[in-house]
């Protein structure tokens, strides 16, 4: 049984007699799950638009907090009884709960608050099972329920919006008072139709987004009754989709334009778009068109070319025809539009680029000025240089890297580390920050800049690193000492120079900074006229600056920014310091991405700091004795700048010699593979935590060198240093074999036999350990993988990729060969039930060991040095990924966003 509502509905309860009562200024609203993703942006707008009609909201665990809005704060409670106990009174409940919570939320609201007469359910995908219960509850308690899966109600006359986001973030743009009521199965089209009607001079009374679930709780029959009783509503638009008999029995006493769309849905055998639109029954689009044609006494669809209508109404199948149909129907009733047409629906192109193609006229429409306020926004967009990223909580999230859980391959700015491994070290260092790889010219400039600052002779940082090494610290700890001393003041000149260059060139139409034909006279005159020259030039001569320019000339590297600086120095008189040249190089590298808004200005200003850290980290890895003024590890600084790639310099710092082509390739692959394992990896977490703690919302205060300390302190003997485990394992296997050259296939060793011997040995060890109850017995490093397992023969696709890469170059590695024999042997002797994969960590170990083998057997380096070299190599590679995370977090993160709420922490007694 149900309480008696509007008399016209004797068989079920309807409480609202007129659309004028659908959304009133007197309605007081409580929002369930007010802090949910959608409500968070919608409710403050609704509240302000409606003069402050939301009295409270609920969000479990948020009691005591408030939602800030332009119309004042909305208090938040854990639950409804608490809100009621606080004295709040409301008659409307708006539901933003997740689908599984909607039914219980409605039941609870009805239970605790007898004053409720309307419930608006915004949630999509509410199970039908719950919808049928919600319907019954509403009927039993005399409550009008709207939705679910709707966008609520808006009354343009009352200036009230309840529930969803009709009219979007600027409701007054679309909800202009007039004489047409809207009933729409589509939430988006509710607003779109209101906007379209404006173009024919029609405003709206009440817009209702009905939802299109199987259960439409407040549906067409009830709405039509209320429409007839609303004196403000002279006509209506109904947007109707297939499915359901809600409109079948409708009878109208006022003009209506019905738009029925979705004939194609007759092809569907399953729901698509809106649940319930299932074909095959008598409620498809064709049937519904027919219903309305009969109601209006017309025999065809209204189109501008065939404007069929009666005084009762018209049927359209294209929403663009609604305004014309409305005007035509109303003309037959002698009613003029509410106001002068606002805008029109003709094609208006706001952005266009034909890419120089000869297109037919139809496909090359003129770009027109957009309607306010979009015109101003477009103008501002044209002024804006660089990207502005929305800030969000970046804990465990990254805009720089992501690991595919299926392939375990990490991508950095969209490039897989497998592809990155085929790039040079310096290219990857640039890409980590700039998001794009440099061209050959850019790479040459980067090599000059990175090598210019690699020699740490005389730097206090090198002394600190050396002292740390002597104290027995691990490489990450020692290098931290050097990086800690590279604070903001050390790079202020370069950062100021970068900011100045951006300012001078931002509206110069420079797109390609390698195009030295570019006319930079404009920026030059501005620099001469203002303060820029003071930032970019210095009185004292700088030998590093001169050497960098000479090296660029020797490499044939060109840059508009460099030529600009030289011209400025010539015109004004003065010298170019190394730091300024560095800024010109980094700005050059970033410029195309900045212009395409892939990068922020913040990043471009930060780049010189990152570059200095790159150089300092590599430079400080070399022993103090290897560095003298003008000479690094036995090579002149000038020669490094002129002839060496930064990858070669890193190899030099690590192993004391320049690599040959093959060694350079292996070294680059190695560094590429180490770049990143996604934002969850410990090193990334350390870097991100350091950014978060400085407060990225004030990006200028973030100490980038400290962020690298976060990365370095979050590496260690278990993360980064563990690469040596595999090397140590292989050393044990090969120590007494007399192996001379691990790159030669003519090694003369029976690897299969060696593997089999070890497999048997391991089997015995494992049996004994298990018999003794030791389940944490030593595992063989670098084989098997939690993802790549379970097949008769298993492969880690990353290892396969790199093995193929080397194999195609004819490059051989005995240690990798041994690993492949080993997994077979382990299977043969019964250690494993299938053939384990050789995982990607093995690749890293075997490349390193191959590089270090000869110096080791020749007694040049001890195992301790070898371990340090392995660890440092990891740091060199991981620096790339960490740089990307640091800069990404600075741009996107919120202050202290990596903290874990106390509620998610646990105590272990």
């Amino acid at each position: 049984m149900h309480p008696q509502g509007v008399a016209a509905f004797p068989h079920y309860y309807v409480g609202i007699d007129s659309l004028a009562r659908l959304a009133t200024r007197e309605d007081r609203v409580c929002v369930l799950n007010i802090t949910g993703g959608e409500s968070r942006t919608v409710t403050p707008v609704s509240h302000a638009f409606s003069g402050g009609n939301v009295v409270c909201g609920t969000a479990p665990g948020r009691s005591g907090s408030v939602m800030k809005t332009a119309a004042g704060d909305i208090p938040i409670y854990d639950n409804l009884p608490e809100a009621m106990a606080a004295g709040h009174r409301f008659n409307v409940v708006v539901v933003y709960l997740p689908p599984a919570g909607v039914r219980d939320g409605v039941l609870e609201a009805v239970r605790v608050n007898p004053d409720i007469d309307k419930i608006v359910i915004l949630t999509e995908k509410v199970p039908v099972r719950d919808a049928r219960v919600i319907r019954a509850i509403g009927q039993m308690h005399g409550i009008d329920i709207f939705g679910a899966n709707c966008l609520g109600i808006a009354d343009a006359h009352n200036r009230v919006r309840i529930g969803g986001a009709l009219g979007g973030s600027q409701p007054e743009e679309s909800l202009v008072p007039g004489s047409v009521a809207i009933y729409s199965n589509s939430g988006n089209f509710t607003t779109t139709i209101a906007v379209y009607l404006l173009t024919a001079g029609w405003g709206t009374t009440v817009s209702l987004s009905s939802g299109k679930d199987l259960y439409i709780h407040y549906a067409a029959m009830e709405w039509a009754h209320a429409f007839h009783n609303d004196d403000r509503s002279k006509a209506a638009v109904m947007y109707i989709e297939p499915g359901g008999y809600y409109e079948h029995e409708l009878r109208f006493h006022k003009p209506v334009v019905a738009c029925v769309v979705g004939r194609w849905k007759a092809r569907l055998t399953k729901a698509c778009g809106h649940a319930g639109a299932i074909a095959g029954s008598g409620d498809n689009a064709a049937a519904k068109e027919e219903w309305f044609l009969q109601k209006f006494g017309v025999d065809d669809i209204f189109t501008p070319e065939n404007p069929v209508c009666s005084e009762k109404g018209a049927v359209v199948v294209n929403i663009a025809h609604i305004p014309a149909a409305m005007t035509a129907v109303m003309a037959r009733n002698g009613i003029e539009p509410d106001f002068e047409p606002r805008g029109d629906l003709s094609l208006k192109c706001w952005f266009s680029n034909t890419q120089g193609l000869k297109l037919p006229e139809q496909l090359n429409p003129p770009v027109v000025k957009a309607v306010p306020p979009y015109d101003e926004q477009i103008a501002a967009l044209e002024e804006q240089v660089g990207a502005v990223f929305p800030r969000q909580v970046m804990k465990d999230a990254s805009g720089a890297s992501m690991m595919d859980p299926n392939s375990q391959v990490t991508r950095i700015h969209g490039t897989s580390i497998l592809d990155a491994a085929t790039r040079s070290y310096e290219e990857n260092l640039v890409q980590a920050l700039v998001r794009e790889y440099p061209d050959m010219n850019g790479t040459a400039l980067a090599n000059v800049a990175l090598n210019a600052f690699v020699n740490q002779s005389g730097q206090i940082g090198l002394a600190a690193a050396q002292a740390a090494r002597r104290a027995g610290n691990s490489p990450n700890t020692s290098l931290s000492a050097a990086i800690a001393l590279l604070g903001p003041d050390e790079v202020a000149a370069a950062r100021d120079a970068a900011a100045t260059l951006i300012d001078l060139f931002r509206h110069s139409d420079l797109n390609d900074p390698s195009d030295t034909a570019f006319d930079f006279s404009g920026p030059l005159e501005r620099a001469l006229a203002g303060d820029a020259a003071g930032v970019l030039l210095s009185d004292a001569a700088c030998s590093r600056g001169g050497a960098m320019l000479a090296a660029m000339a020797a490499r044939g590297a060109k840059s508009v920014f460099i030529e600009f600086l030289q011209a400025l120095a010539e015109r004004r008189g003065g010298s170019l310091r190394g730091q300024v040249i560095l800024a010109a190089v980094t700005t050059h590298l970033a410029w195309p991405a900045l212009m395409r808004k892939r990068l922020s200005i913040t990043t471009v200003v930060n780049l010189p700091w990152h570059f200095r850290i790159y150089s300092a980290l590599v430079g400080s890895a070399a022993d103090e004795e290897q560095q003298q003024p003008g000479r690094f590890c036995g090579v002149d600084d000038d020669a490094l700048m002129r002839d060496w790639s930064f990858a070669e310099t890193a190899h030099l710092a690590l192993l004391g010699r320049r690599p040959d082509m093959e060694a350079l390739f292996s070294f680059s692959v190695l560094l590429g593979l180490i770049i990143s394992n996604g934002p969850g990896t410990i090193s990334a977490q350390g870097a991100k935590g350091a950014v978060s703690a400085d407060g990225p919302e004030a990006p200028k205060r973030v100490q980038i060198n400290k962020c690298y300390l976060g990365f370095l302190s979050h590496t260690g003997y278990a993360h980064g240093g563990n690469g040596f485990e595999a090397i140590s394992f292989l050393l044990d296997r090969f120590r007494d074999t007399g192996l001379a050259n691990p790159g030669s296939r003519e090694h003369g060793l029976d690897l299969a036999a060696m593997a089999l011997d070890y497999a048997r040995e391991y089997l015995e060890y494992k049996k004994k350990a298990k018999a003794a109850g030791d389940l944490s017995y030593a595992k063989i490093p670098c084989i098997n993988h939690p993802v790549f397992k379970g097949e008769p023969v298993n492969y880690d696709p990353r290892e396969v990729f790199v093995s193929d890469l080397f194999s195609r170059r004819g490059s051989y590695n005995i240690f990798l060969d041994f690993y492949h024999e080993l997994v077979q042997a382990l299977y043969k002797v019964g250690v494993s039930r299938n053939v384990y994969c050789v995982n990607v960590d093995a690749v890293i170990a075997v490349i390193l060991l191959k590089m270090l083998w000869q110096p080791h057997v020749e007694g040049e380096i001890s195992e301790q040095v070898m371990e340090a070299a392995a660890f440092t190599t990891f740091l060199f590679g991981r620096m790339i990924g960490s740089a990307a995370e640091i800069e990404d977090h600075i741009n996107r993160g919120r202050n202290m966003d990596t903290r874990t709420p106390a509620s998610r922490c646990s105590h272990v007694g």
Partner: protein, 423 residues
């Protein structure tokens, strides 16, 4: 998720102890089939169609046998039988062997939710043996009932009395049919149809209702049916690989509904909103590859995933990438456009550039920032594009996309390819 036939139907009906005909699956060997014939005298051989393939037209695909050789012959005939359903060819994957149930009375029964009554409703008639649609209304009882109390015996009793059903039918049906509500409501069904239920006489003369065919549809939004542990393959055939991949992203925030329109289509429309989906798909017709609705303010990561999947399946063959929606109320245009742009750039990075014309029609929060981001990306990729605001009629923008598609088909594609350096 939809299920047709007794193979799975009998297992579901077992949950509520509703008697069923005896059913063997396609794996049954000759001995078991012989046993079935021994017990029932006659058996039916029915092709198994996956998903919600309807009954109509299926009658001709029914085999009968009283001996094993005939049963095997019918099995061979029907195992991969083809059948048109809603104009689409579907193929059987196996057969069932079902014991015949002797009966004088056949009952039609269904449970569903009615949009006329906005309540669950039973449809019942004892005038079986013909299609329910062909019966006059007075011979069918359609009775809504309160979901809070469920389907009770008196609802069934009243319905049968109104139909003037023979007395001997009433008690057995009153006792058995309410059990189906448990199956229907507890496991998240939206339709349950038993047609026919044959009233088998027992030795004491009492009739037992035996379900001889089964059809049900589950609510995709209701997790309860997953408790039944039905294998995904039961309904897999009704979704394409692309649809299945997108469906895996189904969460309550943001729509991700897709439907393949034409595997040879040349316009791939990323559509936002149910209304836009309905309109745009209708206007594009067969030139569309897919129909989609990605509205509901999907977060960046979900939109990026959706875009990646769409591009992987459809971009190569497409002339036009069409991003279209009305004036969004709540969908953040910047976030969705950024995701689509980034995914497009990633796609080009991994698959290489490809000739494409991009047409955009959209409105909503952060519109210009979103369009600006997409513009910069398309400029970088070297693709031609036009973007229209929400004050351009959506249908006009569709016409524009179709004109771009025609131009691409008539030689433009080669010109764009040349511009990209891949011609």
């Amino acid at each position: 998720m939809q299920i047709t036939g007794m193979y799975w139907g009998s297992r579901l009906l077992d949950y509520v102890d509703f008697p069923t005909s005896e059913v063997l699956g396609p794996e049954a060997d000759a001995d078991r089939i012989a046993g079935l014939i021994d017990r029932h005298g006659e058996i039916f051989i029915k092709p198994m169609f996956k998903g919600g393939v309807g009954r109509k037209g299926k009658a001709g695909l029914l085999g009968r046998a009283r001996d094993v050789p005939t049963a095997m012959k019918e099995k061979a005939r029907l195992y991969f039988a083809e059948h048109f359903h809603n104009g689409t060819p579907v193929k059987a994957e196996g057969v069932t062997f079902e014991g015949a149930v002797p009966a004088e009375h056949e009952i039609y029964f269904s449970l569903t939710d009615s949009t006329e009554y906005r309540a669950p409703i039973i449809t019942l008639t004892h005038y079986g043996g013909m299609d329910i649609e062909e019966l006059p209304p007075e011979k069918i009882a359609r009775i809504p009932f309160d979901p809070l109390t469920g389907l009770k015996g008196f609802v069934v009793s009243n319905a049968l009395k109104r139909l003037k059903a023979p007395r001997e039918l009433i008690s057995p049906l009153v006792q058995s049919l309410p059990r189906l509500w448990d199956l229907y409501h507890t496991y998240g069904m939206t339709t349950l149809e038993l047609n026919p239920i044959r009233m088998r006489p027992e030795r004491n003369g009492r009739l037992t209702p035996v379900a001889c065919d089964f059809k049900c549809a589950f609510d995709d939004d209701d997790p309860n049916w997953k408790r039944l542990d039905l294998p995904a393959s039961v309904d897999a055939s009704s979704y394409s690989e692309f649809e299945q991949e997108v469906n895996r992203l189904r969460t309550y925030q943001g729509q991700s509904d897709v439907f393949v329109i034409n595997e040879q289509g040349t316009i791939t429309a990323m559509t936002f909103g149910g209304g836009a989906n309905a309109l745009v798909t209708e206007l594009l017709g067969e030139s569309a590859t897919i129909s989609s609705d990605f509205g509901g303010n999907p977060p960046y990561a979900k939109m990026h995933d959706i875009s990646r999947i769409v591009y992987t399946y459809w971009l190569e063959q497409s002339n036009v990438l069409f991003i279209i929606g009305g004036k969004a109320n709540n969908t953040d245009i910047y976030e969705t456009f950024r995701a689509m742009a980034d995914a497009l750039r990633d796609h080009f990075n991994s698959h290489g550039p490809q000739p494409l014309y991009v047409v955009v029609g959209r409105g909503g929060p952060n519109l210009i920032r979103g369009m600006g981001y997409l513009r910069d990306t398309l400029d970088a990729l070297g693709l031609p594009y036009q973007m229209f605001g929400h004050d351009s009629a959506m249908s006009e923008v569709v016409n524009f996309a179709q004109a771009a598609d025609r131009w691409m088909a008539e030689g433009g594609r080669e010109l764009v390819a040349k511009r990209l350096g891949i011609g």
